[in-house]
Amino acid sequence: MEKEILENGLNQNRRKFLSKVGLGIGSLALGSLLIPDLFKGNAGLDEEAMMAALPHFAPKAKRIIYLFQNGAPSQLESFDYKPLLNTYMGQELPESIRKGQRLTGMTSGQSSFPLVGSYFGFQQYGEAKAWISDIFPHTAKIVDDICIIKSMHTEAINHDPALTFFQTGAQVGNRPSMGSWLSYGLGSENNNLPAFCVLLSRGKGNGQGVYSKLWTNGFLDSVHQGVQFSASEDPVLYLGDPKGMSRQDRRKMLDQIASLNQMNYENFGDPEINAKIQQYEMAFRMQTAVPEVTDISKEPDSIIKLYGPDCLIPGTYAANCLLARKLSENGVRFVQLYHQGWDQHGNLPNEMANQAKDVDQASAALITDLKQRGLLDETLVIWGGEFGRTNYCQGKILADNYGRDHHPRAFSIWMAGGGVKPGIVHGETDDFGYNITEDPVHIHDFQATILHLAGIDHEKMVYKHLGRRYRLTDVSGKVVKQILV
């Protein structure tokens, strides 16, 4: 073995050296052509230099809570008020509006696309006079703290690719999730808790699955993977000591293992061994940190009222919102919630009202709660689904029932805190609620903005994998300056 290494080392001659140097210079020149700022400035594209400079500028949002409404809540029954649809109820969607938009297999076979207006009423709220539907009364109360973006658009038309696109910047899985990127870029604030936590809940509405690939670390180091908290008595699985094991015993055991590992490390020098020791230690600290964070019994009564009594039932959206606040308060960089059940192809009035009831109070409570603790200005909260819903009815319009198919061209989300301008509405759609007329925000723009708020230049946080450099925003994305404080 050693002989081969030696031979390989000697297997250098002038010709090889020159050809390598030649190639090297050639590729440098080519590289500088293809990547104009390769030699610009001192940072260049050298990942290490870039990472060392993180955050690239003063972060506005130190922590992020993402309230993902999985299944795609209808913008037309929430924040995008389109009275025209009620006027033209039942009439055909004009082709001049649809402009050949592809449809999902669920409605592409429909012979007619009757427009349908919201069965719920809308009122204007706040300084921005934002329209909010009657099924979100609590959100209406915090309208002056949030920024509603009515002009989101995406490329995907089905749940899984759309969700994956939102979370990882690509429609096909295997890229790191947004939370993983932040964990990679900014590290953990509190070394006793994971930097990226995931909480799941499910409403009664028609649901779509969420999979662990949404909080994957992709090609990043596995320490950046999202840690899923479960609704059971053990929020983090396999963290508790088995019955009969005392903390001292555990400490002793870890010390012994650590000294064995240390011996191995001294022999082989493999950094993974060191990483292992660190991870055991972190788990040991988590054994006290996690119960302290997840304990809601000491929350004052007014908090229960604020979030609604559901927050006491583990696994509900309200409980997850409360837990998200507690995790965030304790320095968890990124808390990702998913609330399933927003896929209203049919039975929309009934299901959507129920879904809204599940999330409205607790989402608003989270904003109020962060605000009253003085944390809202450094915590970014995002509420929204993976795409919008069509302005035409899926199936037949009945007196008390209709449905909407997937619509990627325009939908609404809201953001609050963490450097986002409060009390504004950004973007506008046409009177049919079908196309964006003002300030479109693409998913990559949205991601670039989030990274910007976290103090990261989205073009400079890169990771080289399989010969190419990857970013959360892939090859595009513009920061939406208009919504920044």
Binding site: E189, D301, G331, R373
Partner: protein, 713 residues
């Protein structure tokens, strides 16, 4: 070499002809009227000029150092050939240049210098060629050197014409934005001018007024160009300047033209906002309306300037050494000397953790102590952090006469005291904290009046009192019924729990709805000795009573020796057959689990026989109800008995109450007293409802009955 010499002589003749032509052009320059095709020739000037520069410079080197060619067979021919070729190209270049100069848009005087040095290159080169051929050695070298100098000067002047005057040196003396602090910055000089200078002025300046427009001085910007003013004060969005910028890149009139350095997205937004905000030249940024879009955009250019402090950065290694798992110190951002400190894990906290920050007390601008158990004395140590701007003391338990200490922190802008029981007299200390921008007082038990007073004395502070319990009544969630087993032999113990401590729990075991007046109040674990449905609700002051929680508990009974079902259960819900009804396995909310038998088409008709007659006190039927899943109480329950040596007779016929709306999934128990009959055989007929009621979506269809256990006691 006849070919060579012929080529040389042809070229030399062409060169002489060119000299003549150029002389004519120079003399008649002002009167030239060019046809369009020659304008194209003129525009090849920037392309052609590179050839003579290179060729002539090579020629100069060969003249100066002839030894380079010592190995060549005919060094002289080579050198003169290169010079000749270079001269021919320079002739074309000069001609094209003279054509180009007739086009408008260039400042005469600037062009003059370039033009004459360029022509000088041509003339000097020709002289050199001639003297080289004649072997005037010292003259050659002098001429070669002057030619090289001339080429450089002409080239530089030309470059200045196209790229702007200080194009070459500008990277060395760039005026960066960041050198001016935000407070001093002017709208034009520090935000707009640098953009124009970089992207526009090279074509719109004194020496090169494309479109007769200059953008290098405010007065010219206001004057405009050949198409009139470029800024429209009436309708800013119609301003020519903006319109040209916003045209698509492909458009002929797009500015800067395709191929030139383009304005970035941000720069366009800035210019747009600046024009809309009525084109201020001398206005300071700080004097702009806080809401102005221009200000918001411009601000980001100065962001790195914010958070600069007069104190020096702390030693990085020192900061690192002070970090531990429960105390995290980090710069507020990489370029800042300011540090923020977060404390985590209250069990690992003690006062030493704060005192340990002494070496970096000057740099610390933000401390987060939320949830750390602080004692009254501990506040004093915070006074050491003179530069503190942000302090989070939420839920630390402070509350005594300690807030006074904070008045020494002159830079404190944000103070969070939420969750602390602050005594009313402390407001005096708080009202002295005039330096605060933000004060968070949620859940501090301060009375409303005190807060009002505070607001009156701290007029510049935003006081946040957060969510107030404003008398809205919410529904409590149901109690949790905690038990070890639902089927028991002698007796079982059941506990009721509720996540909110202040709740009172009421329950019934006789299948009546519980309420807070007539029902039993839960005080200690409930002991059940017979099959029962436990129903419980929670009540608390300030809340609406909870919905009901209920669980069925079954006392295991006598098992008949012979069992037979006249009709089998539905194929999908057949469990383990008739045995399922006596396996003492309580079913849960999943009616497809195999622990439940489901009946729809046929009634459940169960025959039970005992080898020896048994005394039966009661018959209990354990049901599952879920109206949304079409599962209803039975329409009829019939109990037939055959006593010792008797005949079959119907003992009881019951029609249970039907619900009039869909309820949640729930377990139910129907109990029938049997008056201690000595029974040999028993027959139970349970009929599903034939037709679902009107209120149900499946009106008219057959209902289901689900049974998991029959209990005979």
């Amino acid at each position: 070499m006849p070919l060579n010499s012929r080529l040389v002589s042809i070229s030399e003749n062409a060169l002489i002809a060119a000299h003549g032509f150029i002389l004519i052009l120079i003399i008649g320059q002002d009167r030239i009227q060019l046809p369009a095709i020659l304008e194209v020739v003129g525009r090849t000037h920037p392309l052609l000029l590179h050839f003579p520069i290179v060729l002539l410079l090579i020629g100069v080197v060969l003249v100066l150092f002839p030894k380079i060619l010592s190995e060549s067979k005919r060094p002289k021919l080579l050198t003169s050939g290169i010079l000749l070729l270079g001269l021919l190209f320079s002739a074309f270049t000069v001609i094209a240049g003279l054509f180009l100069a007739t086009e408008s848009g260039y400042e005469r005087s600037d062009i003059q210098n370039h033009q004459w040095t360029g022509i000088l290159v041509f003339w000097l080169g020709s002289l050199l060629y001639w003297s080289f051929k004649k072997d005037f050695v010292p003259a050659n070298k002098i001429m070669a050197i002057s030619l090289a100098v001339c080429i450089l000067i002409a080239g530089h002047l030309g470059a200045s014409l196209t790229h702007g005057e200080d194009f070459l040196w500008s990277p060395l003396n760039q005026k960066t934005l960041t050198s001016t602090p935000f407070e001093e910055a002017l709208a034009y000089a520090h935000v707009i001018q640098p953009i124009l200078e970089q992207k526009c002025v090279s074509c719109h300046k004194a020496s090169k007024k494309k479109g007769d427009l200059r953008l290098d001085e405010p007065e010219f910007i206001l004057t405009g160009g050949e198409n009139g003013p470029v800024i429209d004060f009436e309708k800013p969005e119609n301003s020519l300047l903006l319109r040209h910028i916003l045209l698509p890149l492909e458009d002929e009139d797009h500015m800067p033209p395709k191929g030139k350095m383009q304005l970035s997205e941000d720069e366009i937004l800035l210019i747009q906002a600046w024009i809309k905000d009525s084109v201020h030249f001398e206005k300071k940024l700080v004097h702009f309306n806080a809401e102005s879009e221009f200000l918001l955009l411009a601000k980001s250019k100065f962001q790195t300037q914010k958070n600069t402090y007069d104190f020096a950065s702390a030693d990085q290694e020192l900061v690192q050494s002070l970090n531990n798992f429960y105390r995290r110190i980090q710069p507020i951002h990489p370029q800042s000397a300011g540090l923020e400190v977060n404390f985590y894990g209250k069990e690992n906290f003690n006062l030493e953790e704060i005192k340990g920050l002494e070496p970096i007390k000057e740099q610390i601008v933000s401390i987060n102590l939320s949830y750390m158990p602080l004692k009254e004395m501990d506040m004093a140590v915070l006074a050491a952090f003179k530069n503190l701007e942000k302090l989070n003391l939420n839920f630390t338990g402070i509350g005594g006469n300690t807030l006074q200490i904070l008045s020494g922190l002159k830079n404190l802008r944000s103070l969070s005291l939420s969750g602390n029981p602050i005594a009313p007299y402390e407001t005096k200390a708080l009202s002295g904290l005039k330096q605060l921008d933000f004060l968070y007082l949620w859940n501090t038990s301060l009375p409303e009046g005190q807060i009002k007073e505070l607001k009156a004395s701290l007029t510049n502070t935003k006081i946040e009192i957060g969510f107030q319990n404003d008398g809205i009544l919410y529904v409590l969630n149901p109690p949790i019924i905690d038990f070890d087993q639902t089927v028991f032999s002698d007796q079982t113990e059941i506990r009721l729990k509720h996540p909110i401590e202040s709740t009172k729990l009421f329950y019934t075991v006789d299948n009546t709805p519980p309420d807070s007046s007539s029902s039993l109040k839960y005080e200690k674990p409930i002991v059940l000795e017979k099959s029962s449905t436990l129903r419980a609700r929670a009540f608390a002051a300030g809340w609406l009573g909870s919905p009901e929680a209920s669980t069925v508990f079954l006392k295991s009974g006598k098992k008949p020796d012979f069992l037979n079902l006249k009709f089998p259960p539905n194929e999908k819900y057949k469990g383990k057959g008739v045995e399922t009804l006596f396996d003492l396995q309580k079913g849960d909310f999943d009616f497809g689990s195999g622990k439940w038998l489901g009946f729809q088409e046929n009634p459940m008709d169960l025959l039970m026989e005992f080898d020896q007659p048994k005394t039966i006190n009661e018959v209990a039927i354990s049901l599952f109800l879920d109206e949304s899943s079409y599962i209803f109480p039975p329409s009829t329950v019939e109990i037939w008995v055959r006593e010792l040596k008797g005949e079959w007779r119907i003992f009881q016929k019951d029609t249970p109450d039907q619900p009039n709306q869909a309820g949640d999934k729930r377990l139910n128990l129907i109990v029938y007293k049997m008056e201690q009959l000595q029974i040999e055989a028993l027959r139970l007929r349970i009929l599903p409802i034939k037709s679902l009621p009107k209120w149900h979506p499946g009106v008219g269809q057959k209902g289901w009955v689900f049974i998991d256990e029959i209990l005979l006691n």
